[in-house]
Symmetry: C2
């Protein structure tokens, strides 16, 4: 087992990474204050892991609520199902919520914990690669609105993150590849050495080699913890973690969160951001090609849905949370491993990228 | 104009109290970062004050959303109307929300501000006595759930509070009296001198004498600011502000937020808390009678709805946010002006109080 630390003063917490961590009471119980625990999972994950997760809270009043599976259910209505369960069982302000599942379960459970009685404790037990390397760390929680992704939420840090790499064995290939998109992201934004490692070891990661997976997860979490520790509430730097997300959220919103996985949309979005960076003269053609090749090798989509137009992209991107006084700020690359957040690009160059990617 | 300060470090903010403050741009604009302002009001208040409030934000993109009026609309569904408006107009993370109305508008707008894009600025412009003396100060925001009041929310401080005493001229008598309940509360929990002042000057307050009203509002806000400054997130002391609220929330929930005003339920709840305090030997019979007489003179209800039973009270009180490991903690009085939070009372004494107040 590896232990990393997210350094946030009084809100610091550990990330435990290893195989078989799911059912270990001595690992998790110190991070669950109070006597009441509500495990939130979904209909896909619960049959696989709910029983073991419940064992970890032996001795407490441990209940659960099972949500429908999928990004399209990351809504205020689904959030209310968690509040229903908490209130039906008279859960008090010193209870603990546990998110057992992927990014959607983690985001919605974290927001429920931020909001229930104005804030209770929660533990992240991410069961997908994407949630283990990205969404479970850093305290961003929330739900989607029909008019934009992650528009409603809170910063609320977990008390610990338990990344059981054993749970990835039941993940289907498409979900694994979607997680690899966020792994590649860390190489692109801040860690060129990791990017080079991925070029060497991507096939092992995709083949679920335990050592390669554990390394990729720990390195990704460390990269993310470093950024979050420096800028918890996204005053500036933290926004680089959104490489590809402004384009990607537009794709997810346009397709109603139904057909594209988040990681897939981010992969295509990263390619579009890299393309724009290259047009601006910031990223070399060679670096652009390396990014394209790695994402292609991961089996991720290289173009947005054919029905999306340039105008639609611009409309949806105008609702991004990074928009400042009307300007669409984007995460772009000044080189491999060197992301910046900027609105300092010519509109014509963004249009050229959109034209190149829209049929 | 009087200016008080709520002292919360980097989250400190001023409370401006006076007549005619509503439409003064130079007063309010320093507290509205960004170019976009969304005024949230309700169908009762908007016809009276929306135009003047809008004038205060001249030069900005100022839009509004009008909610239905009433505690029963303090729900996630109504909250979503605010998000709809913000996203429809592409409001960015550096926008400002303005709550123009009573406690319901303030609570729901504050929670929208806490949650929109994970947190934006907001200004409180309370237009009822109750919201001017209580709910607009201190950063408690939220909505109700069918199973309990204020169960979903956040701590989110405003950038300033503008209490225009002129707006009380349009308040109906019943609403004014409901606000007086919270004014009396400050006397009971921490300010015996103010309680004695109210015994002398209640008739002037009820007759809306401007000087008496301004004094009562400023003294109430100062009392509240002192408590909130010492315990922003209700680790302990702050809970005394909930005198009468555990009983009162049970009444509001039982009557579906339709027939009792919040201040009315709090008034009856304070009487029940005082009754229990007297049974425990903590409050003298004389002090109990003084509390009863003042609340009666204010024209507030002295008993819960006749259909409520002891069992129903206990069930609803078990969902209170102050419940800790199954014990119902109550705010009780060790004397006039001396509130404590405690679960250290005999269940039989609570039952005696409930029996005395339930038909």
């Amino acid at each position: 087992m590896q232990t990393l630390n997210v350094d946030l003063g009084t809100r610091s917490y550990p990330i435990f990474i290893g195989s078989g961590l799911l059912g270990r009471p001595e690992l998790v119980q110190p991070y669950a204050p109070g006597k009441q625990v509500m495990i939130v999972s979904n209909e896909t994950v619960a049959p696989l892991y709910l029983e073991r997760a419940t064992q970890a809270f032996a001795g407490k009043e441990c209940r659960h609520v099972i949500l429908p599976d999928g990004e399209k259910y990351k809504t205020l209505d689904t959030l209310n199902l968690i509040f229903d369960a908490l209130l039906t069982h008279n859960f008090s302000r010193n209870c603990t919520l546990v998110a057992l599942g992927g990014g959607v379960v983690g985001d919605i459970t974290g927001y429920a914990a931020a909001s229930y009685q104005r804030g209770v404790a929660f533990i992240q037990i991410p069961t997908t690669l994407l949630s283990q390397v990205d969404s479970s760390v850093g305290g961003k929680t929330g739900v989607n609105h029909a008019l934009g992704k992650n528009m409603i939420g809170a910063f609320h840090q977990p008390t610990c993150v338990i990344a059981d790499t054993g749970s990835l064995n039941t993940l289907d290939d498409r979900q694994l590849r979607a997680g690899v998109a966020e792994v590649i992201k860390y190489g692109l934004i801040s860690d060129p050495e990791f990017f080079a490692w991925l070029e060497q070891h991507l096939d092992e990661v995709l083949a679920r080699d335990p050592a390669a997976l554990a390394y990729a997860i720990a390195r990704s979490c460390q990269d993310k913890a470093d950024v979050v520790g420096a800028d918890e509430r996204e005053g500036g730097l933290r926004a680089i973690l959104n490489l590809g997300h402004t384009f990607g959220h537009a794709i997810e919103t346009a397709t109603h969160y139904e057909t594209w996985l988040h990681g897939e949309a981010v992969a295509t979005g990263m390619l579009m951001a890299a393309d724009l960076s290259q047009r601006l003269g910031w990223l070399s053609t060679d670096a652009l090609q390396r990014a394209q090749q790695l994402i292609a090798r991961a089996g991720l989509p290289l173009r947005p849905p054919t029905e999306m137009t340039r105008v639609q992209f611009l409309q949806l991107m105008a609702r991004d949370k990074k928009v400042l006084d009307g300007a669409i700020r984007l995460v772009l690359l000044k080189g491999l491993g060197q992301a910046i957040v900027t609105a300092d690009y010519a509109a014509s160059q963004l249009q050229a990228t959109l034209d190149a990617y829209c049929a």
